[in-house]
C-alpha cells in the first residue's frame, strides 16, 4: 500500500486546498484527525487543486486499466488550464480523494470522465481569469493564459498560484464555462510519451494485482466441463479439505474462496465437481486452469 501513503503525503503537502477544507465536518470520518477534501461531482475542488508552487493535482474517479488514460486525462487538464504537462499530477481511483465518476469501462474514460475533468479545468480557468482581471482592473476578455501564467494586454503576468494564495477555488462546476477552441490546442492531439511506461519496463509499477489489503480474499471461478453446461448442484464437502478454504458462492457458477497469497495458484478446480448435462458441447476439460477468468 505504499502508493496510498505517498498519496497521503502528497495531499498533506499540497497546500491551499487541503488546509481550507481540513475542518469541514461532513467530509468523511477522518475529518477531525487528518486533512480531507471534497469529492462531490459539482465542485471544482473535487477534481483539481493548485498548490503554492503552481503545480496542479487532478483527482480522477476513472482509473487506468492499462489503456493509457492517465496520460490522456493529464493532457486534457493541462491543455484546458494552460499549464505545462509536467506540472500536472493525476490521482486516480482513491475513493477518499477522487469524485465518483462511475465505473471504468466501455471506452467512457475520455468521453465521460475526460469531459468532466475538462469542464472542471475550464471552470477553474474562468474563475482564475476573473480573479486576475479584478487584480489588474481589466475585463477577463483582455487576458490570456500560457504555461501557468495569466497574461494581461500590457504583458502583466500573474502566475496561477498568486491568484488563489492560500485559498481554494471554491466554485461550483459551471457547465457554461467556455471551453478552449480545439484550433488553439497545443497539447491535446499531440503524441506524448505515456507516463506509466518507464515504471512498467523497469518493474517499478504497481499493478492492480499487486495491491494487498487486510482481510483480502482470493476467489477462483470454477468453470464447467463444456460450453452450455448448467450448474445443477454443488457438493460443498468436496472442497472442505482445501487448506484455507472459506466458502463457495454464486448461483450460476461456484467459486472457491480462500485466503492465499496473491500469485499462488489455486488448487485445480477439478476438485469442485459439476453436475452438468452431457451433450455435443460438453467436452472433458483437461486443465481448467487454462481459462483466463479464474484469478482476480
Amino acid at each position: 500500500m505504499s502508493a496510498l501513503i505517498e498519496r497521503r503525503a502528497l495531499l498533506k503537502a499540497s497546500g491551499a486546498l487541503i488546509i481550507t477544507f481540513a475542518l469541514e465536518p461532513h467530509f468523511g470520518r477522518a475529518a477531525q484527525t487528518k486533512p480531507s477534501k471534497p469529492v462531490g461531482l459539482d465542485s471544482v475542488d473535487s477534481y483539481l487543486a493548485i498548490d503554492s508552487e503552481g503545480l496542479v493535482t487532478v483527482y480522477s474517479g476513472k482509473v487506468d486499466l492499462g489503456t493509457g488514460v492517465r496520460t490522456a486525462l493529464t493532457q486534457i487538464v493541462a491543455e484546458e488550464l494552460d499549464v505545462p504537462f509536467a506540472n500536472v499530477t493525476l490521482i486516480q481511483g482513491d475513493t477518499e480523494l477522487t469524485p465518483d465518476q462511475g465505473v471504468t469501462y466501455g471506452s467512457l474514460s475520455i468521453q465521460n470522465g475526460g469531459v468532466q475533468l475538462r469542464q472542471a479545468a475550464a471552470t477553474a480557468r474562468q474563475t482564475l481569469l476573473k480573479i486576475a482581471a479584478a487584480r489588474m482592473k481589466v475585463t477577463p476578455e483582455t487576458l490570456t493564459m500560457d504555461s501557468g501564467t495569466v497574461i494581461g494586454a500590457h504583458q502583466q503576468r500573474l502566475p496561477l498560484q498568486a491568484l488563489i494564495g492560500n485559498q481554494t477555488l471554491s466554485v461550483k462546476m459551471d457547465k457554461a464555462a467556455p471551453l478552449k477552441n480545439p484550433d488553439n490546442f497545443k497539447l491535446v492531439g499531440q503524441s506524448v510519451q505515456r507516463l506509466d511506461i518507464p515504471g512498467k519496463v523497469t518493474g517499478q509499477f504497481t499493478f492492480m494485482q499487486d495491491f494487498k489489503v487486510p482481510g483480502m480474499y482470493h476467489g477462483r471461478v470454477v468453470r464447467p466441463a463444456g460450453m452450455g453446461a448448467k450448474l445443477i448442484s454443488v457438493d460443498e464437502s468436496s472442497i472442505a479439505g482445501i487448506p484455507g478454504i472459506v466458502k463457495s458462492c454464486g448461483s450460476r457458477a461456484s467459486s472457491e474462496l480462500s485466503p492465499r497469497p496473491s500469485g499462488q495458484p489455486s488448487k485445480p478446480c477439478g476438485s469442485l465437481p459439476w453436475s452438468g448435462p452431457t451433450g455435443p458441447n460438453c467436452r472433458p476439460q483437461a486443465n481448467c486452469g487454462s481459462t483466463s477468468g479464474g484469478r482476480k
Partner: protein, 123 residues
C-alpha cells in the same frame, strides 16, 4: 518485487519470465528446488536511472499498452539477444511467439527489440 508477473500460472504466457544463469525461464512453473545459480529479474536488468538498452527501446517505441506481458517480452528478448546479438525480424518474431500479449502491441515490440539489437543490447 513488481517485475515478474503472475499470468497463467502454467508456463503458457511468459509474463513470469526471469533469467536463471542467463537463460530465460518461466518462473511460475520452475521448481524452486531446481534453482541453482544466479536469478535476474526485470528489476535487475536495469533501473529507471540506468536503463538496459531493451528497456530504453521499449520506452522509445512506446511498445506496450497495459504492460502486463512486457516483463516477459523484455526478459525473453534480453536472453535471446545475448545468444543472437543481430537477429533478423523473423528471428525476433519466432523467439517471442510463445510470449502472449492481449493488447496487441506486437509490431511495436518487434520494433523495440530490433532497435535494442542495433543499440548493442546483446553485446
Amino acid at each position: 518485487m513488481h517485475g515478474p508477473r503472475f499470468g497463467c500460472g502454467l508456463g503458457q504466457c511468459g509474463a513470469c519470465t526471469v533469467h536463471l544463469n542467463g537463460a530465460a525461464i518461466r518462473s511460475c512453473v520452475y521448481p524452486l528446488g531446481n534453482v541453482q545459480g544466479k536469478v535476474v529479474t526485470l528489476e535487475g536488468l536495469g533501473t529507471p536511472e540506468n536503463l538496459h538498452p531493451l528497456q530504453r527501446a521499449f520506452i522509445d517505441e512506446q511498445a506496450l499498452q497495459c504492460g502486463y506481458c512486457i516483463n516477459g517480452m523484455i526478459m525473453q528478448a534480453a536472453a535471446f539477444l545475448k545468444r543472437i546479438p543481430k537477429p533478423t525480424e523473423d528471428q525476433v518474431r519466432e523467439e517471442l511467439r510463445p510470449n502472449l500479449c492481449r493488447c496487441g502491441t506486437h509490431i511495436r515490440i518487434v520494433r523495440a527489440v530490433m532497435r535494442a539489437a542495433q543499440a548493442g543490447a546483446g553485446v
